[in-house]
């Protein structure tokens, strides 16, 4: 039997900020446990939360970028449950009035545009991290209170590819808006995944199973394993149970955590210690106006305006800094396709070889513009440009300097080339006398000789033109 898959994601992303979302402790990663902490993070009796304004602005930025409705006031709720990683016994989050609701994000899935609907995005605090050992567990409160933005989609994705494309697009949005470093290896991006299967063509959704706390790089495996499990269950006429499961990295399988009956009632209520914080129209306007152009819009523009292929457009827009690099060169008047070729092949190739980012790259936009100028004016060949590109990087020099030092600049002056051509003809007068315009190979021979004599600097086009003229004269002599 075939099934329709439906997936919804709850994506948790740690925001960057100088201090934690409700305490003055530094929001910084540290290998040394329990160093970035305060009494507030530890939930000692009598502590009170003070909201970090920077985090509010970042949360509002994401809500705006996700085309969400934003509330008049920032209001927080308590989510009550007992767990050793939650020292207060409640998490301060947003349930009643999230910072963003009813939004969407357009993404490319392969070559198709898909709109992913956002139920809400809300600001909350991260929990402590636990290290489990045989007979005991250790608690590290460094992460406790780090600002966390949870973005919840509607159940609107229908394949693993769609889910992964959305996750990738959302990650890019966080990077573009500079709200997070999204360091996946540090667990800064984690997901809860809801997945249900229904008979193909069915109007109703199947029974929802939730997978909790999946690190973003495990999403694909977790989905594959869970969907496979559900198909097997359904094919064997076993009902899917509404439950929460966890994904085990080692076995690459999902396991039951708790059933629907065991579901926790979080007893949400409005946090009394944080008065409503007005999100002024000025602030909303400021946030909206300072939003950068996002990847989806860039990709679309690169295809429609610059004529790039989807693959190239995606490659460039993947990284905001690469896109900015690309666009700066294009807006200087260079051919977008030519620039795209340079960026997607040589630039990205070199970055990956050197394992550096574009901001650490010494071949700046200005250098690239200079190099392309040389090609456009015919002063150097494309092949030479490639050599100059690498030489500039190795020696940290401008193309102008490299061209000058290596004497690589092409000779384009007709009279200069004519001098060389005449010398070549004298040296090979026997052959020249027999010149026949019908025999292309003869011309090639002379072009080769001219290039050799000019040590490769003669512009091939000009040289060909002059050779044709002079050879005719020579033969008719």
């Amino acid at each position: 039997m075939e099934y329709d898959i439906t997936i919804g994601l709850e994506v948790h992303c740690e925001l960057k900020s100088t201090s934690k979302v409700f305490s003055p402790s530094p929001n910084a990663y540290s290998e040394k446990p329990n160093t970035n902490i305060s009494v507030i993070d530890l939930g000692f009796p009598g502590i009170l939360p003070v909201v970090n304004k920077e985090s509010i602005k970042k949360a509002l930025t994401v809500a705006t970028a996700l085309n969400c409705e934003t509330p008049e006031y920032m209001i927080f709720d308590r989510k009550n449950y007992y767990y050793p990683d939650l020292p207060k016994g409640y998490q301060i989050t947003q349930m009643h009035y999230p910072v963003g609701t009813n939004g969407y994000l357009d993404i490319y899935v392969e070559d198709k545009v898909k709109r992913i609907y956002i139920h809400d995005t809300h600001l909350e605090e991260d929990t402590a991290s636990l290290d489990h050992y045989d007979k005991y567990s250790l608690i590290d409160y460094n992460r406790c209170g780090v600002p966390l933005l949870e973005t919840v989609t509607e159940p609107c994705m229908h394949s693993i590819d769609e889910a992964l494309a959305f996750l990738e697009s959302l990650k890019r949005l966080f990077l573009y808006t500079d709200v997070s470093d999204v360091k996946v290896e540090l667990g800064q991006l984690r997901c809860d995944i809801n997945v249900s299967l229904a008979p193909k063509g069915s109007n109703e959704l199947g029974v929802k199973v939730e997978m909790k706390n999946i690190i973003s790089y495990n999403v694909k495996m977790a989905l594959e394993s869970e969907i496979k499990r559900q198909i097997q269950e359904l094919n064997n006429n076993r009902a899917i149970v509404k439950e929460t499961r966890r994904y085990d990295e080692a076995t690459m399988q999902t396991y039951r955590m708790r059933s629907k009956e065991e579901a926790i009632d979080y007893k949400y209520f409005i946090e009394p210690n944080i008065p409503p914080i007005k999100l002024t129209n000025e602030l909303k306007k400021e946030v909206k106006e300072s939003l950068p152009e996002l990847a989806f819009s860039k990709i679309t523009r690169y295809i429609n305006e610059y004529g790039l292929s989807l693959v190239d457009a995606k490659t460039i827009a993947k990284d905001k800094d690469i896109a900015n690099y690309y666009e700066k060169i294009v807006t200087s008047g260079k051919d977008p396709k030519m620039v795209s070729n340079w960026v997607t092949t040589r630039v990205l190739g070199r970055l990956s070889k050197d394992e550096i980012t574009i901001s650490e790259f010494n071949f700046t936009e200005d250098k690239m513009i200079e190099l392309l100028d040389f090609i456009e004016s015919g002063k150097i060949s494309t092949k030479q440009a490639k050599d100059i590109f690498y030489k500039c990087i190795e020696e940290n020099k401008t193309p102008k300097k490299v061209v000058k030092e290596s004497g690589m600049e092409q000779i384009t002056n007709e009279e200069e080339i004519r001098k060389i051509v005449l010398e070549v003809l004298e040296e090979n007068s026997d052959v020249a006398k027999d010149y026949n315009p019908e025999k292309g190979r003869m011309l090639d021979f002379f072009i080769g000789q001219t290039m050799k004599k000019s040590r490769g600097k003669a512009n091939p086009g000009v040289a060909t033109k002059v050779l044709k003229e002079e050879l005719l004269k020579y033969a008719n002599r």
Binding site: V39, G43, F44, P45, G46, F269
Partner: protein
């Protein structure tokens, strides 16, 4: 005569004029604390060593509190000093930070001589549920002092200290102040920072104080009020000194009392000699108000709203309390429980750490917050709270304050019969002070008389942020009620 029996103002002058030193005052205060401890049990910890150490180190300053001994309720965080909230679950907890109010007291040069007993975790109104035993009323050891700020009240009423810090969630400062014959004040919500106050119900919790006269209250509040960056609910500074501005001129002030509460017909079958005396005393108070030039009016309020105060209070406070106290699991601090897994360990710590009364409130709180009950119970309680506050704010457009008896009787005996919590006497006369907590309004109680040599008093509540007006009305009244400055067991000066 001892300087310790005087007002803060008089003690201050004695210190300034070199008649007594802060060391002498603090030592005498410590002496009394130790001497009375067995009788009244005001303290969880008498901090003798710390107080003597502190008094030699304080820097001379302009504050009226310089060199004045005080006591602090044991639910305020004190760095390096045991702070138990009178609960077994915190019986060994030594905080590593000071509450803002404690820091401010230190800055003023006041010296704390100890941490006072409360009803466990500030939940309760009897002063009988602390983990170190019951607090007794200095006017009569057979009677309770009320709570939850029981020890702070007893310490001031018995003359150990001239002032003490307490907290008030429903009437936890004002009710004991009535039974102890002293002044109890909770200012506007946010006037004094709550940072470091162990929360009971944070939307209702106030830090406040006890003293033996209103001017002393003003001196204390001047020292501890003010905006605090650590408390988002704290108010901006009002940049005035209440003690400078008290003048007792209340001519033309308009006050009201509530018809439904003061109608004796509403207590049919519930009256006794004490209640009649309370009513008689209140008539005298109103007469004094008029003599002072105040206009006194009767206002009617829907009795259903008034009778809903208690259940509204219980619903909201228990809900917040169960969440606020969820940090007490024995994981980060406190006695570690035993068990095979983390749930069992936390379960064990909480089972052993809380008394049955506390567990009962937590169960109530959880119940009203449950998904299926929240709308009907918790959220409706919030709506009733809003209706009540709106009604009073509407009245405050016409009036400066309302005034009511602080209790329906003198302090009850320990072994008295259980109060009928559905009686009008309980619902109307014993719970109206929570209105001030619902709306964050400044509210003060002052002694107004005695029945069988046991104090009774009145409560004056004003509009939010209008603390000075409330203090000034109380200041004018105490001067004509003849109970000012009294210490239990001592002749009035």
């Amino acid at each position: 005569m001892s300087y310790l029996d005087l007002s803060i103002e008089e003690m201050h002058e004695a210190i300034i004029n070199g008649k007594i030193t802060p060391e002498e005052l603090v030592k005498e205060s410590l002496q009394r604390a130790k001497e009375y401890q067995e009788k009244y049990n005001s303290f969880v910890t008498i901090t003798e060593k710390e107080a003597i150490d502190e008094v030699t180190k304080i820097k001379k300053n302009d504050s009226y509190l310089y060199g004045i001994p005080c006591a602090i309720k044991d639910n305020l965080s004190t760095k390096g000093i045991l702070t138990t909230s009178s609960s077994n679950i915190l019986k060994d907890y030594v905080p590593c930070f000071d509450a803002t109010v404690v820091s401010k007291l230190k800055e003023s040069g006041s010296v704390s001589i100890g941490k006072t007993v409360l009803d466990e975790l500030a939940m309760g109104g009897t002063g009988t549920t602390g983990h170190t035993g019951v607090v007794r009323n200095p006017w009569n050891k057979e009677r309770l002092i009320g709570g939850s700020s029981a020890g702070s009240c007893a310490a001031v009423a018995s003359g150990i200290v001239p002032f003490a810090i307490g907290s008030d969630t429903g009437d936890s400062i004002r009710k004991p102040a009535i039974y102890g014959g002293i002044v109890g004040f909770k200012p506007t919500y946010g006037r004094i920072s709550r940072y470091g106050l162990f929360p009971f119900a944070c939307s209702l919790d106030h830090v406040g104080c006890f003293a033996r006269n209103v001017k002393d209250i003003a001196y204390v509040v001047d020292a501890i009020k003010g905006h605090d960056d650590k408390d988002m609910t704290s108010l901006e500074n009002d940049n005035v000194k209440y003690s400078d501005l008290l003048d007792g001129n209340v001519k033309g002030k308009k006050v009201f009392y509530i018809k439904e509460i003061m109608d004796i017909n509403n207590y049919e079958g519930e009256t006794d000699k004490e209640l009649e005396e309370v009513f008689k005393n209140f008539d005298t108070v109103l007469e004094k108000c008029r003599e002072l030039g105040m206009e006194v009016c009767e206002e009617s309020i829907d009795i259903r709203l008034l009778k809903a105060i208690f259940s509204t209070y219980m619903t909201i406070s228990c809900a917040e309390a169960t969440s606020n106290n969820s940090n007490l699991t024995g994981i980060q601090f406190g006695p570690r429980g035993e068990g095979k897994n983390i749930e069992e360990i936390m379960f064990d710590a909480r089972t052993k750490g809380f008394s049955e009364l506390i567990k009962r409130r937590f169960v109530l709180g959880s119940y009203v917050l449950q998904k299926e009950n929240q709308e009907k119970l918790f959220l409706n309680a919030g709506r009733i709270r809003r209706l009540i506050v709106d009604k009073f704010n509407e009245l405050f457009e016409k009036y400066d304050a309302f005034i009511l008896p602080g209790s329906s009787s003198i302090a009850p005996k320990f072994q008295s019969e259980n109060i009928d919590k559905l009686s009008n006497r309980y619902l109307l006369l014993e719970n109206h002070m929570a209105i001030g907590n619902f709306g964050g309004m400044p509210s003060i109680t002052i002694p107004s008389g005695k029945i069988d040599n046991m104090p009774i008093g009145i409560c004056i509540t004003g509009r939010a942020k209008d603390d000075l007006n409330v203090l000034n009305i109380a200041y004018a009244l105490e001067n004509v009620l003849g109970q000012k400055g009294q210490i239990a067991g001592k002749e009035n000066k």
